[in-house]
Every structure is written in C-alpha cells, then in structure tokens.
C-alpha cells in the first residue's frame, strides 16, 4: 500500500472515529442525556435515603405512627400529579409552536408546585408545633424526625428548585432564548420529582398512619 493510500485510509479511519464519538448516545440529544444522567444519579440518592429509612424503621420496634389524617397528603399528591399533566400539555404546546399556550401551562405548573410547597411547609409547621424536629420526636424514637424531615425535606428542595427552573425556563422560552427542547428537558426533571413522591407517600406517610 502506498503512502498516499495509508494517508487516505488514516483519514477515513479518523473521520469514522470522530463520527462515532459525536453520535448522540442512545440517539438522545446532549442536553436531554445530561438530564437523564442527573435523574439516574438522583434516583440513587433518593433510593439510598429511602432504603436507609427502611433499615432504621425495621430495626426500631416502637416506630411511631403519628399521622391521623391523609387529607393533606392526598391533596398534595393530587396537585403534584396534576402538575405533571400541565407540564406535558405545556411541552406539547411548545412542540406545536404555540408559544403563549406553552408559557401559560408552564406557569400553571409552577403555581401548582408553589401550592404543593406551601402545603408541605404548613404540614411541617404543624408537626414542629407538636414537638417533632430533626433531632426530637415526642412519639418515641428521635430517628423518626430525622428520617421524615430529611427525606421529605430533600423532596421539597427538589420541588423548590424545580419551580425556580420552570419559571426561569418559561420566561426565557417566551423571550426566544430557549426552545421547545429546553421545556422538554425541564419537564423530565419535573416528572422525576413527581415520580419520587409516588414512593415517598406510601413509605413516609401511609406506612406511618395511625389506625
């Protein structure tokens, strides 16, 4: 093979490798893939917290069941699930280039997130009023307060961050700086927050319901 052939083959090889290196992973655009990787990592965080809570609860015979009513948590669940639907409608509106509609649904989603956070904080204040804190629990083992406030607090932190992100992305989308794909990536995060709540509710609230 001549030097010229080698050069050509080398170039073809390098070009091919470059194409492979730049091909989107799983045919998913880079921004979306980054969000999926974050979600996977965050799944490990929440799973770690919930499984650790399981270990603690299992090894504590006198684990308290302080919740008397499911009304508040039922309303919170309804609001969060509804916010996922409004998020989907917002993304679909953006994909149909209905800018005003997409912005409106994004803001509705953000408002629902704020209502969820307010209800959550109100519930926390009620529990704190009864004497439960991160390191103290009037119904028995202090580990209950630690587990409850840590896990629900981590989720509340995600909701708060999500609301800020929703508002920021929606404003930038309306201003033309962001596109429908950015709304979709934000939506992925919001659905994840909703998904986590589906596990937090039965494990943290319903399993600790007094009969």
């Amino acid at each position: 093979m001549s030097q010229a052939d080698l050069s050509i083959h080398g170039q073809v090889s390098r070009t091919g490798a470059t194409e492979i290196m730049t091909a989107p992973t799983f045919s998913v655009p880079a921004k979306k893939m980054a969000m999926w990787l974050f979600i996977i990592a965050d799944t490990a965080t929440f799973a770690g917290c919930l499984v650790a809570y399981g270990f603690i609860r299992n090894s504590t015979p006198d684990w308290p069941r302080p919740f008397h009513s499911i009304t508040n948590v039922a309303i919170m669940t309804f609001i969060l699930l509804t916010s996922s639907l409004t998020m989907l409608i917002g993304v679909r509106s953006a994909q149909k280039e209905n800018k005003a509609g997409a912005f409106r649904w994004m803001m509705i989603t953000a408002v629902l997130g704020i209502v969820f956070a307010v209800l959550h904080i109100r519930e926390w204040l009620g529990m704190i009023g009864e004497g439960a804190t991160l390191f103290h629990n009037p119904w028995g083992t202090p580990l209950f307060g630690s587990a409850f406030f840590s896990i629900t607090g981590l989720h509340l932190l995600h909701v708060t961050g999500g609301v800020i992100a929703l508002i920021a992305v929606a404003i930038r989308y309306r201003g033309g700086r962001y596109g429908a794909d950015d709304l979709e990536v934000t939506g992925l995060y919001w659905h994840f927050v909703d998904l986590v709540w589906m596990f937090v509710v039965p494990l943290m609230y319903l399993m600790n319901l007094s009969h």
């Binding site: 639907l85 989907l88 994909q95």
Partner: protein, 103 residues
C-alpha cells in the same frame, strides 16, 4: 437540539388517560393504608403499586417507551443500585433480633 424530536404518539388523550390511571393507583395506595393487614403486607402492596406508578410515569410521561436503548440503560442501572442498597437488611434484623444474623 432536536426540535424534530417531538412526542406525538397518542397525543394529549393518552397523557390524560395515564394521569387518570396514576390518580386511581394513588387512590389504591390510600385504600391500602386503611386495610387491616400487617406492616410487611402493607409495605409489599404499597411498593408494588408505587412501582407500577413509577413505571407508567417513566414510560409515558418521560417518554422512555420511545427509546428502548435508553430504557434498558436506566432500568439496568436503577435495578443494580437498588440491589446494591439491600446490603444493610441483615444488620437491620441483627439490631432488631440480636444475634440471629451475626454469624
């Protein structure tokens, strides 16, 4: 990025159907909470419903059903992490029941 990457399969009708299904499943969890069963039975039933809920949200709200490669990537990683986290149960039972698991 792919403005072309739209998710029109099923449309808003499917989204609403999944939303209603998720509400029903969430309602079932609340019904289970009032059943007169042991804590372990309650845990298994509630977790089963939660896994179905989570699966529906992942597949349809997060559109994972439209990308098999990504779906397997997420599934394998998640299952591996969850299995890895189970290491602590033996210690949990040892704390509860003494020496049973200590040998």
């Amino acid at each position: 990025m792919a403005a072309a990457e739209t998710h029109n399969t099923g449309g808003i009708g499917k989204d609403v159907a999944i939303y209603v299904l998720l509400l029903i499943l969430a309602g079932i969890q609340f019904v289970i909470a009032y059943q007169n069963i042991t804590a372990s039975q309650m845990f298994v039933r509630m977790l089963s419903v939660a896994i179905i809920e989570g699966g529906l949200a992942l597949l349809f709200f997060m559109h994972l059903s439209e990308n098999r490669g990504l779906m397997w990537f997420v599934a394998i990683f998640t299952v591996a992490v969850l299995l890895g986290l189970q290491y602590g149960w033996t210690d949990s039972y040892r704390l509860l029941e003494g020496v049973r698991w200590s040998h």
